[in-house]
Amino acid sequence: MIEFFTGHYAYWFTVILLCVGTYGILFKKNLIKKTIGLSILQISVVMFFVSIASKWDATVPVRDTAFPVEDVANYLNPLPHTLMLTAIVVGVATLGVAFTLLVAIYNRYDTLDEQELLEKIQ
């Protein structure tokens, strides 16, 4: 049982981040805090991709005589990390759009609290 927790601590970390992000999205009333929750949710998935591709004592996938090519444990797969560069860029773009919308909302309603906003829209 202990093994189940300690052996997968990287995954537990991402699961906790995922829950924190979802909590922020669902239950926070302030729209800025919702956006932060969204960002945490995205980062948790980035962390997941990074952790599945990490390896100890491995090197870049360039063929070297010191590392026999048959032994895959010698080589890191760079693809998940590379994909996450794109995912991070997507996350930054999302945050940019989100904050732009928040500025527009604040200019129109003078509040970022969801409850007050809903009252003002009605």
């Binding site: 995922l18 979802t22 999205i25 729209l31 919702k34 956006t35 969204l38 949710l41 995205q42 998935v45 997941f48 991709f49 599945i52 998940p80 994909l83 794109t86 995912a87 997507v90 773009a93 999302t94 759009v97 989100a98 732009t100 919308l101 928040l102 527009a104 909302i105 129109r108 309603y109 906003l117 829209i121």
Partner: protein, 494 residues
């Protein structure tokens, strides 16, 4: 030479024009609209040509930079992609012709960025439809979504808040999809759809596969507005500007439905989907709930755009139901409904836009019998579109429901058949309410003079002709349904 490059040309046309529009728009703003129409026209022509080419020669796999898949990135242009690309590009072309006047009045001075963002969004949609790689699908999904949020935020006063809510829920959905892709990548080691299809049966017992399927369905279900995840849709469609709602309503949810088709029927295959839990049946139940909920909520609305938005939730349910039936009739019915609903919803939102343009509102309770004299053509199109939505032959809407019903009978799924019939009745309630106000004399006002004082006040030709064109195409699609369905049965993966 062109044939083998077709997929890339269709998608990159939009990317090219999204750059060209700001370049020419800064010089002369009047050039933006013709350029946007030109770009969409080129893409539409290529995708119609591409669909015909596909029927002749079969699927095209386009490798970017000559790097063959699984190493490189590819666009796969098979039957499903070709069909969806043809539908969305043709509808976008017609909608962009329509957009000239409403964009000029509602978005004074913002036309240049507006058309540029539309082109970028269409690039994202086309990329989603044609890509052969799950991670690229995520990237195109986010391109289309981010531009979609931006477009929805332009509109009436509450529009930014509607767009923000869509952004939160849509990005969370996209992130869950990405997590699902991560699970699949860990068990198969590839992101290429064709490659993964070959590998999945070997790892079918792995629980990560089921988890990833559920995550992907939830993530994409948000974009497709499947029943419990539809909350963002009514506000977004209602508060946004007319050209945006006319463009996004017929296209946006369809492309998300495409991903579900791709994942369910092509990537996993229906046996693998149903291996652990009867997921396709569950999805069908959600679709049924969505059909009934959307129809009932639509009856309760007074605002035409809002009513149409709820009706969209109901109509996407038909498409998902056809998918969940997983038999050739359901497949053909669902794809025919993709085409029909794109045409019908675009036409209905155009009619709402026409009324808004002339009257300043689209409140159904304020419709009166003078409208049939003021807007004869718009109201004629409304009748055609409404009857088609309800599903009376020989209009297009009847035939997709007919094939879906055949699919339910094939599966002996009487619950779904009952839902189709009940929702047709509910559709009749909310569409005949409008027609009644326009074409019947109001018995409560016996001395009503509205009809006498009403004068011909139809919208200009650039808005009227696309509306009428779509109304006529409903007849054409309805009469040509046998030919269309025989083609669609040919591309079914069963």
């Amino acid at each position: 030479m062109i044939d083998s490059h077709l997929p890339a040309i269709i998608a990159l046309t939009f990317l090219l024009f999204s750059v060209l529009i700001p370049l020419f728009g800064l010089w002369k703003e009047k050039l933006c609209h013709p350029l946007a129409v030109l770009g969409a026209g080129i893409a539409a022509a290529y995708s119609i040509y591409g669909f015909i080419t596909y029927l002749d020669t079969g699927a095209i796999r386009y490798f970017f930079g000559g790097w063959e898949a699984p190493i490189g990135i590819e666009f796969v242009y098979d039957g499903l992609s070709a069909f969806f690309a043809m539908v969305i590009n043709t509808v976008a072309f017609i909608v962009l012709i329509y957009a000239l006047k409403p964009a000029r009045t509602e978005l004074e001075g913002k036309e240049m960025p507006y058309y540029s963002i539309i082109m970028l969004m269409m690039f994202g949609f086309n990329g989603m439809v044609m890509t052969g790689d799950l991670f690229n699908l995520y990237v195109f999904l986010e391109i289309a979504s981010l531009t979609g949020y931006a477009l929805i935020a332009i509109g009436s006063k509450p529009a930014p808040y509607a767009a923000f809510r869509y952004l939160i829920i849509g990005t969370a959905g996209g992130t869950l999809y990405l997590l699902g892709v991560g699970f699949l990548y860990t068990v198969t080691g590839t992101l290429n759809i064709i490659d993964m299809t070959a590998m999945l049966p070997m790892v079918a017992e792995n629980t990560a596969v089921v988890a990833s399927l559920i995550l992907m369905v939830i993530g994409i279900g948000v974009k497709a507005a499947i029943f419990p995840m539809h909350g963002w849709l009514p506000d977004s469609y209602t508060y946004t500007a007319t050209p945006t709602s006319v463009l996004i309503a017929p296209i946006g949810t369809k492309v998300a439905a495409y991903i579900l088709f791709r994942v369910f029927l092509y990537l996993f295959g229906i046996e693998l989907v149903d291996a652990v839990v009867p997921l396709s049946y569950l999805l069908g139940l959600f679709a049924c709930a969505g059909i009934l909920y959307g129809s009932i909520m639509a009856i309760a609305q007074n605002e035409m755009k809002r009513m149409l938005a709820y009706s969209s939730i109901s109509q996407i349910g038909y498409i998902i139901m056809g998918l969940s039936l997983a038999n050739p009739w359901g497949f053909a019915g669902a794809l025919l409904h993709v085409l029909n609903h794109a045409v019908m919803k675009a036409c209905l939102f155009m009619i709402a836009g026409n009324i808004r343009m002339q009257e300043g509102h689209s409140d159904i309770s304020r419709f009166d019998d003078g409208y049939r004299k003021k807007y004869p053509w718009t109201m004629a199109s409304l009748s055609v579109a409404a009857i088609s939505m309800i599903g009376l032959p020989p209009l297009a809407g009847f035939f997709s429901k007919w094939y879906l019903a055949l699919g339910t009978v094939d599966n002996e799924n009487w619950l779904f058949l009952a839902v189709i019939l009940i929702s047709s009745l509910l559709n009749a309630v909310y569409f005949f309410r409008m027609l009644e106000k326009v074409y019947m004399k109001d018995p409560n006002k016996p001395d009503e003079k509205t009809l006498e004082v009403a004068e011909y006040n139809e919208v200009s030709g650039s808005m009227l002709s696309p509306t009428i064109l779509l109304a006529i195409s409903m007849f054409v699609i309805g009469l040509a349904n046998v030919a269309i369905v025989s083609v669609l049965l040919g591309i079914a993966p069963f």
